[in-house]
Symmetry: C2
Subunit: 347 residues, 2 copies
């Protein structure tokens, strides 16, 4: 007699299998909205938290313990690999800041193509630790910033509203931009490869700010590099999730990255997205601020998204962007409960 062990729910859903209920996790689920997370953060800096496997493991597991999400996601930051390349970053109240933005050929050339096992050993260690603690049916997701999105932080020196420095480089010195994007693709590949080799069962590529670009510029400066990352990773067999915040205008293009699953923001109807791109699986797409509603409003909003998939396999419930610090815990409970109650096998 062979022992039949079923693959975890979310991995089956990511691959488009028909599953008994819709899996759910939340972007930034290990974060400031959780009192137990804030308690850990009071005793260390954000960077210390990322770099200390025991602490990273602890906060990764916190939301699993509380909500029993269908996946854990490694606690880290998309900018960690940039630090490893020699671009020091500070995480303050106003968001991340690079001491010196990267805007010249000399600055690009000065970046290191480092072996992630040497420069970020704590990432592999955290993953190994988390895998030991995590129940077998809850997979661990890894993640990285997509090359273009990493590029925006490096070139702007932090977050940006209008990406003026980014666009100045794209439209005045495209060769320099492509040179930096190549380096960032290599870094993202190295980081994700290490995460998969260390035990992550699926990975998400955050191309959060790619939607700052017009479709033609997306095709030139973002898409080819995201595609290169996925091309290099597909041989590992882990499902590949691609996220952009504001994907409505570039959905069909984003579908050509080689992603297994598109993670979409809330400004696009999920049923419409599925009709426009029929061959992929989808993750999303509740407005994070729907969590500010009453219980009946939160449940109704969740149900509308579940209904938008009626009859279609391949949906992972998530927010359309990361959860925000002021999100009420009770609203997350209502949300998770509503998704769990919704039976997809009865449809």
């Amino acid at each position: 007699m062979t022992l039949q062990i079923q693959k975890p729910l979310i991995l089956r859903a990511l691959q488009g299998e028909r599953v008994e209920r819709t899996p759910v996790w939340i972007m930034r689920q290990a974060g400031r909205y959780l009192p137990e997370y804030r308690a850990v953060r009071e005793k260390c800096t954000f960077l210390q938290l990322c770099r200390t496997p025991e602490l990273a493991c602890e906060v990764t597991l916190q939301p699993i313990r509380r909500f029993r999400f269908d996946a854990a996601i490694l606690f880290s930051d998309i900018l960690i690999p940039l630090e490893a390349m020699g671009a020091p970053v500070e995480f303050g109240d106003g968001g991340p800041k690079f001491t010196r933005p990267v805007r010249t050929r000399a600055q690009v050339d000065a970046l290191r193509d480092a072996d992630p096992y040497e420069t970020m050993p704590f990432v592999a260690q955290s993953i190994q630790l988390i895998k030991k603690e995590l129940p077998a049916e809850i997979p661990l997701l890894g993640f990285a910033g997509a090359p273009f999105t990493l590029f925006t932080y490096l070139v702007e020196g932090g977050g940006s509203k209008d990406f003026a420095a980014v666009k100045r480089m794209l439209f005045q010195e495209p060769a320099l931009a492509h040179g930096l994007l190549e380096r960032l693709a290599t870094a993202a590949i190295g980081s994700l490869r290490m995460q998969i080799e260390s035990g992550c069962e699926a990975v998400q590529l955050f191309d959060t700010w790619a939607s700052a670009l017009a479709p033609h510029d997306y095709e030139t400066f973002a898409l080819p590099y995201a595609r290169r990352v996925f091309d290099e990773l597909k041989r590992f067999g882990a499902p590949l999730i691609y996220y952009t915040n504001g994907i409505g205008g570039i959905l069909e293009q984003a579908a050509t990255t080689g992603a297994t699953c598109l993670s979409i923001d809330w400004r696009l109807d999920l049923a419409e997205a599925r009709a426009r791109v029929p061959n992929l699986t989808f993750q999303g797409n509740l407005d994070p601020h729907a969590l500010l509603g009453t219980e009946s409003a939160v449940r109704a909003a969740a149900r509308r998204i579940l209904d938008a998939n009626a009859g279609l396999p391949g949906h992972i419930f998530n927010l359309g962007h990361g959860i925000f610090p002021e999100a009420p815990i009770a609203a997350v409970e209502w949300l998770v409960d509503e998704v769990r109650r919704y039976r997809t096998d009865a449809l």
Copy 2:
């Protein structure tokens, strides 16, 4: 013999007529990127500028003199009618701020439904003055904030990144939100009606932040009020332009507002937009920050948008969002020159 006077180019294009070349104007064309505008602004506050017909007329005409755009747009601000309703606003360096956000039933009830001719006589006066100065072939556009977009400023007390206060009200007190939206629709209708009666030949409704909403919420809280505005205005015969920044996910819905023309942002391919909504005219949609490029990059970006319309009538060239203060004058010159050189009648 009857004298045949042809309607201005942009009015013909807005109605979908085949025209000899693509008309062009720029959102916020009377603004801080112009040295002559900054010279006027040094001597008065922003509100004084809006409220003094001679000054509003002067800055409205500045970009026409310099670039000979195909339309002038009244210099004013979408928040002026809110001030007229009894919600004082200050325009500082950090953007507009309402002294007191409107978040309760009592605060909504305290707003005045004022006659715009009494509370904003300077608007009608500015229009009359501008019309005297403007050549007959250059129409004057009027504008207003759409009800939902005005709502975001009133409820947040200014601009916002995440619209948390807005969404709290929508999802906790929808009846209160609808009550306020009704009042704002009335205000927008009154203001636009006065503008058309005073001489504006087309109007643009700015629903800039409607795209912060999920499509279902857009359908509930933004669309019906934009539609009400256009329903009330259509009898005046002036073309009606509807703008949203980030329209990609709600294009088909926005097309049902009753707008003559959709003004779209740059994160959506114009050819794709025209294919998705074949029966309207379109305005847009250059990335404003494309103006940071080299001359050949600016010209190529403009040409791509013109090419996206190849053979289709009903396109007004514009940016996908307002021009920004650091935009180089030379780049605007390249842009306007490129659009003027492009012959649509040879296609």
